[in-house]
């Protein structure tokens, strides 16, 4: 048997890293359940089962061993991220189609773990929002706004059977997201200040969803602390988003929301700590990561402010994923002993 040094390795493994990411999502999920009911747990479970089943089927088709890849937890991350990006009251087939597409097409057709150029969860999201835009807007009214809240049994009825309690329509139960509302109301001529007075908004961004974002950030800080993710991407992303939003807000506070609103609305926090930090499709060099995260922040802001989609995080991730090979080539660091004649 041929052996090459080194003969010792650090204990961390891919599956541990992925497991930590899953753990870090738990505070966010807990907040989600508190404000929007347990329906999201059903989505996560559905997505997880679909992801593992699709992963197993694809591995079988590609003649790869099942065990190491099913236990690497990467499919679960895709499943969870996708489930968290969907409206909680999504019909079961929406979750299944999105997850299956993410795993089968955007992950395995590109070569499986480590070879997917795009973030699979975001591909799943993009496919769904383009194919089924109507179903992607049914966001439940958060707890504490005095809206009608369905029981868990009623939620299950809708998810699996499409049946709503008699006398209720989907429109009565759901509402547009804070980002969406902002966009529509601005079009109607209201100022940001007026819009923010509406009950769906909280202190920072959307009522309820801002707390979910804070919980994501807490999970992200755990990931930073355990060095699962590199600090550069979340920092650059958030700072750039803050600066761009801040410039627009300072120039025209009537039409542009405050930077903190951008931080805590939509999927910005989820993106900063969980989506853009996905290493596979991300840049690997120092300067590359700055460009990658800053670009993502710019695209997020542009789509949110000027685009027709409610949030820009998914498309920011995908668009920057495309640029990564080029960014990496551009930003190769200087090698030891090749730094301008060695000082």
């Amino acid at each position: 048997m041929m052996w090459s040094s080194p003969f010792v390795t650090q204990a961390t493994s891919v599956s541990q890293i992925m497991l930590r990411v899953l753990l870090a999502l738990i505070p966010g999920i807990a907040m989600y359940v508190w404000f929007f009911g347990p329906a999201v747990l059903v989505s996560i479970t559905l997505a997880s089962i679909t992801a593992l089943a699709t992963e197993a089927a694809m591995l079988k088709l590609r003649n790869r061993p099942l065990k190491p890849f099913l236990t690497d937890n990467s499919a679960l991350i895709t499943a969870w991220l996708l489930a968290l990006s969907l409206p909680a009251l999504a019909p079961w087939w929406l979750v299944v189609v999105g997850t299956a597409f993410a795993i089968a097409v955007s992950k395995h057709l590109y070569g499986g773990l480590g070879n997917n150029p795009f973030n699979p969860a975001m591909i799943g999201y993009a496919v769904l929002i383009i194919s089924f835009p109507a179903h992607m807007t049914h966001w439940l009214t958060p707890h504490g706004l005095g809206g009608i809240e369905l029981s868990f049994a009623q939620q299950l009825d809708y998810i699996f059977g499409g049946i709503l309690p008699s006398g209720l329509t989907l429109d009565a139960l759901t509402m547009a997201t804070p980002l969406d509302t902002l966009k529509t109301q601005l079009h109607l001529g209201l100022s940001v200040g007026d819009i923010r007075e509406m009950p769906i908004y909280g202190r920072l961004a959307g009522h309820g969803s801002e707390m979910v974002a804070i919980a994501y950030a807490i999970g992200g800080i755990y990931l930073l602390y355990t060095r699962v993710i590199n600090w550069l991407i979340p920092t650059t992303y958030l700072v750039t988003l803050f600066v761009i939003a801040g410039i627009f807000h300072l120039a025209d506070p009537v039409h542009y929301a405050a930077p903190l609103f951008h931080w805590f609305a939509g999927a910005a926090m989820l993106g900063a700590f969980f989506i853009f930090t996905d290493p596979v499709g991300g840049s690997t060099t120092f300067r590359g990561r700055i460009i990658y995260a800053a670009g993502a922040a710019l695209i997020t802001f542009l789509i949110r402010t000027f685009g027709s989609f409610p949030d820009g995080v998914a498309f920011a991730a995908l668009l920057m994923n495309i640029c990564v090979p080029l960014i990496d080539i551009w930003t190769q660091p200087k090698v030891f002993g090749k730094k301008g004649g060695g000082k």
């Binding site: 041929m2 052996w3 090459s4 040094s5 080194p6 003969f7 010792v8 390795t9 650090q10 961390t12 493994s13 891919v14 541990q16 890293i17 190491p68 690497d72 990467s74 070569g111 499986g112 773990l113 480590g114 070879n115 590199n230 290493p279 596979v280 991300g282 690997t284 060099t285 990496d328 190769q332 660091p333 200087k334 090698v335 030891f336 002993g337 090749k338 730094k339 004649g341 060695g342 000082k343």
Partner: protein, 560 residues
């Protein structure tokens, strides 16, 4: 206090140094057999000067350095040369190399030797003597010391760096040596200072060796040698990394430290130099750590050439050995066979067990987490190099500075996918080297072929001219010789027909000879071999046909 620089990356593997660092080192008893490979250093192998049956004395020259980058090999004890034959040598390939085998006579009788008054002789002579004494860098790379200190006339050494970092886990030889022989090391350093005339001399020692630091401080008291404590961080003992830490200078890619005014030697090398100048002893022994799955891990002074078996036995191996590492766990070589000898570059032997060194976990695909890039002390992008090595895109690996990789193993250590990155890089490097060898061979073959074609052309021309002259001179009509005549090495050889006759005669002779003598290797051919011969014949026929056509074309064009 000196302000220290730092290198990029680095890792903190578990040190495992206390196991072996607390026992005083001992001297190994005389082994039953010594095996001395002729190639124990970087550069050309030594040229053997003894033969089987010779009786040699301790310190006697066995093989002399050949070429500039080479070093001599000496008999580690007195005894009889039993053989000069190949034996497996400590190398990852586990292939054999030529070795001198000595059976000790137990007398350990020295050859005449005397201390060297090195300040009284010219430096060039001192360097030549170091070459003859077989002194090479003992830190692991075994670069001949005399080459390192052969400075060009315009080269000035600003800093002499003495490497006492010993950053690899498990190894404690330099630690023990500095604790026990600090004064002797400093004597050796003085020789290096004499050679390099540096403005400053720095000894870099990692801060996990406080006793070695104290001992060296005490030994250097009153001299202007400075002991610099550096933070423990693998691979700070790498030559380029240590120089960067101590001086802030980066050895240019592909360059040598002397190019930036720095010379760097290991403490063990300094000690070996002391043994040579103060006692007249060539390099015949060294300190080695024996550790791992043994009862008493310790450091042992051992003769070069001692079978590792006998060395490991001194530390009482425990049951459950799963192999051995020669060197440290980060950069060492895995060996299964303990009959290999200790060589000049051996600093440690680790007995593996399943508990201390669990088998490598299966490798997962790279997820581009770039932890390897963060750990790389050469600022490389191992994840990209891995990608290209795996795809055998060797041009790209070179674009991404594959050859600046020092194979320290930091990348593979941190890889969460457990990819054997270093092996990928070694694979790519050796493939590139082979391609270079092939390109060179092809280049030589092309030149020789072109030269041959030219020569054939010239001979043809000369022959034609001679014929023309002959025709002019002789009025009698004579049949012209065939134009496309075969060409001989000997221009004065006979014409073809006579040659053919001679060949025929020789063939009959040979046939007679063969009939009476041993059978030829072409009899009893297997069908495959026959097919092969037939194929070659066919190709040759076509070849000569094409060649003669081409030749005829040439001829006709020339005539017209």
């Amino acid at each position: 206090m000196r302000t220290l620089d730092h290198f990029h990356g680095g890792i903190h593997p578990a040190e495992h140094k206390l196991e072996s660092s607390e026992l005083p080192s001992r001297i190994a008893p005389l082994p039953s057999l010594l095996i001395l490979p002729l190639h124990q250093h970087i550069g050309a192998g030594a040229k053997v000067q003894v033969q089987a049956g010779d009786h040699v004395l301790k310190g006697q020259l066995l093989a002399s350095a050949q070429g500039m980058v080479s070093a001599a090999i000496h008999a580690p004890t007195s005894g009889t040369v039993t053989a000069v034959q190949p034996h497996t040598v400590p190398h990852p390939s586990q292939l054999p190399g030529l070795c001198v085998h000595i059976e000790p006579d137990g007398k350990d009788q020295w050859i005449d030797h005397a201390p060297l008054e090195y300040r009284a002789i010219p430096k060039s002579e001192l360097l030549a003597k170091l070459r003859e004494a077989g002194i090479v860098g003992l830190g692991g790379a075994t670069f001949p010391t005399h080459v390192k200190y052969s400075l060009a006339t315009d080269q000035r050494i600003q800093t002499l760096v003495i490497n006492g970092a010993e950053c690899e886990p498990w190894i404690t030889t330099d630690d023990r040596l500095m604790r026990e022989r600090a004064a002797e090391i400093v004597r050796g350093i003085e020789v290096l200072r004499h050679l390099a005339e540096p403005a400053e001399t720095l000894i870099g020692i990692e801060d996990n060796k406080p006793q070695a630091i104290a001992a060296m401080r005490a030994a250097c008291a009153g001299s202007d040698i400075e002991i610099v404590t550096i933070p423990t961080l693998y691979p700070s003992g790498g030559e380029k990394q240590l120089i960067k830490i101590l001086t802030g200078k980066e050895v240019p890619s592909g360059g040598r430290p002397t190019g930036i005014g720095v010379a760097c030697s290991n403490v063990a090398t300094a000690y070996a130099i002391h043994r040579f100048v103060d006692h007249g002893e060539p390099l015949i022994s060294r300190q080695m750590t024996v550790t791992g799955n043994v009862r008493t891990p310790q450091n042992i002074e051992v003769l070069i050439g001692t079978p590792l078996e006998e060395l490991v036995r001194l530390a009482e191996p425990l049951p459950g050995a799963t192999g051995y590492i020669l060197g440290g766990p980060m950069m060492g070589v895995h060996i299964d066979d303990l009959r290999l000898p200790v060589v000049k570059g051996s600093n440690c032997i680790i007995v593996k067990s399943a508990k201390l060194f669990p088998p490598a976990e299966p490798a997962m695909p790279c997820i581009r987490c770039a932890r390897c890039a963060a750990a790389c002390p050469a600022d490389l992008q191992p994840q990209e190099l891995h990608w290209f090595s795996k795809a055998r895109d060797f041009g790209k690996t070179q674009e991404y500075s594959l050859f600046d990789c020092i194979e320290c193993g930091a990348c593979a250590y941190v890889c969460p996918s457990h990819i054997p990155l270093v092996q990928y890089f070694r694979f790519a490097k050796s493939e590139i080297w082979q391609r270079e060898r092939e390109t060179q061979a092809a280049e030589i073959a092309r030149e020789r072929h072109e030269f041959r074609m030219e020569r054939i052309e010239r001979e043809k021309r000369e022959k034609a001219e001679r014929l023309a002259l002959k025709e002019k001179a002789a009025t009698a009509a004579k049949p012209a010789a065939p134009i496309a005549a075969p060409v001989m090495i000997n221009p004065d050889a006979d014409p073809d027909d006579t040659l053919q006759m001679r060949i025929d005669a020789a063939m009959t002779r040979a046939k007679e000879q063969a009939a009476t003598a041993q059978p030829r290797n072409t009899e009893n051919l297997t069908p495959q071999q026959q097919a092969k011969v037939a194929e070659i014949e066919a190709r040759r026929a076509k070849f000569s046909e094409l060649a003669s056509n081409a030749g005829a074309d040439d001829e006709s064009s020339k005539k017209s």
